[in-house]
Amino acid sequence: MMEIRTPKTHKAKRVLEKRAPKLVENGKKTLILHGTKTSATLSSVLMELYRLKKGGAIKYSRRNENIRPFESGGETSLEFFSQKTDCSIFAYGSHTKKRPDNLVLGRMYDHHVYDLIEVGIDNFKSLLSFSYDKKIAPHEGSKPFICFTGEGFENVPELKQLKEVLTDLFRGEVVDNLNLTGLDRAYICSAISPTKVFLTHCAIKLKKSGTIVPRIELVEVGPSMDLVIRRNRLPNEGLRKEAMKSSKDKPKKKVKNVDQDDVLGKRGRIFIPEQEVGKTPLPDKSKGVKRERREGKLKKKNKEEGSASKKHKESE
């Protein structure tokens, strides 16, 4: 026997609609968690990653023993969490003797693992160790610039995948309109060797130049680390093709209060709110506010100043 269950509150309904598959999707949320053991560097990496992605990330603080992303059975917990929190990217940190300071970055498609890439963290510098002028500190949730340098990102397949994953991770929401004053952060990723990527987070200083385009100066503020490629798993072809599919037709937006007619042409309807005569704000007729009084006062003041200066001049 089946039962139809619908949400009883509007809030629940809105949450369900937000999580439903759509033509134009929301920004991907990141799930940050760790395994049985973490080292000091790894826990600070995860914490800072969470801070960088504050609006769109969820951090789990308990340790998870049964998550092994690269093994066939070890992904069920991850998929369950992804479903529960509606997160499509995850960062799983673990520290073992064989793989110290290990970070697995993975993406999900339909809450099933799509691809994985495992990196080791070297030379980590926390954002607390950087000293800079606090005025240029980037704001939470601002859209970042992402820069990749190095031929490795084109030639080496693992680095290519890492480039895609990092873009997905740092991108945030896809927006139509951008406020130019809100550009204050940049992520710089450089492929210093075929297996190593140097990642750093910088704040942007806009300096005056002769043209409309300001001169850009980058100041290192955030965490910086070396990512050493360890293992990776590419998505299988069929899944990749399906995930990359995009629909060409735009969502039909209903235009309200406009109707077309052959006789009368295009007509629109305007709704005027009810004029509540009893509730209109009355003019402020208190004594000091009246314009004549104000102007009179001003004139008086000017006269006094004028005479004072005259007196001053006379005395001299």
Binding site: M2, L23, D168, I192, S193
Partner: protein
Amino acid sequence: MDTEMDQIYQIDVGNLLAFNPNHRFSSAPSSREELVKECVTEGTKLVQAIADTLFNFPSTESVDGPLVQLPPPTTKLPREKHLPRPKPPTKWEEFALKKGIQKRKKDKIVYDETTDKFKRRHGYDRVNDDNDIPIIEAKASDEPGEDPFAKRLDDKKKRVDKQQKNRLQNLKSAAKAGALPSHVQLAASALPITGTKAQPKKLGKEELGDVAGLAATSTASGGKFDKKLPGEKPPKKQGKHHKYLPVVPRYGWVDEEKEQTNKVLGKLLSKHSHEILNVGKAINMYNDKKEKKKSGRSDKLKPKKDITKKKPYANKANK
């Protein structure tokens, strides 16, 4: 952006992304600091390149600052969920398609002929309300004992149930095609075991514990050596709760057993013992016991004398 030294960068303005595929980092790094510096300078060049295109876009002024229309991103990234699947047509939709029935927009206000007014179609004081009909004329086909009003209610109920069933079927076929609407969930509900529609009552924590205790005591060793699950509490002690005093008193402590017996003896042999001990009652109890033993019959079989019932002429005779 072309410069003499570097070649073209790959810029994706929609994502604020820039890629320089042509820079070669020296395989022998000079020092960590120099490397970092090099990376940051390269990064600056890339950000400058993006900013060049960005600031040259036509901008509109807003309260917070200049707003710029970003082009859609060019790098293709995988979606997070599948594309929304088309919903299969419902049974009515199929039927309407076959018959060529068009949807007609219904007005919210309808003219009511019985009272010459405009009334709303749904809601309070609506047109053609079922409850408002005062008289239902009898037809030749009607049975004599039937209540037409009740029949109308019954018919409506049947229609509503049929519609619910059809709705469920439509949703099931949509779920099969993977196109269930986002706010609907289909869940399997438990069948009621009894004939009535009573929901099977869920046992609480304490009730479960009690039942488990009962089951345990029915074992041979009274549930004492049963394997317990982690977190299961030991069974509550059944029967009388005795507190036994220690036989050998502890060194330096009062002998509790001795104290107990002394207390009772003291009370009995004290000056005011007649106040404590009700001698009359004690004698009566002793006599009763003796008589019961003699007769050998239990009280339960004897007809009980109702002492509250008075004999009609008993008092008068005494007087």
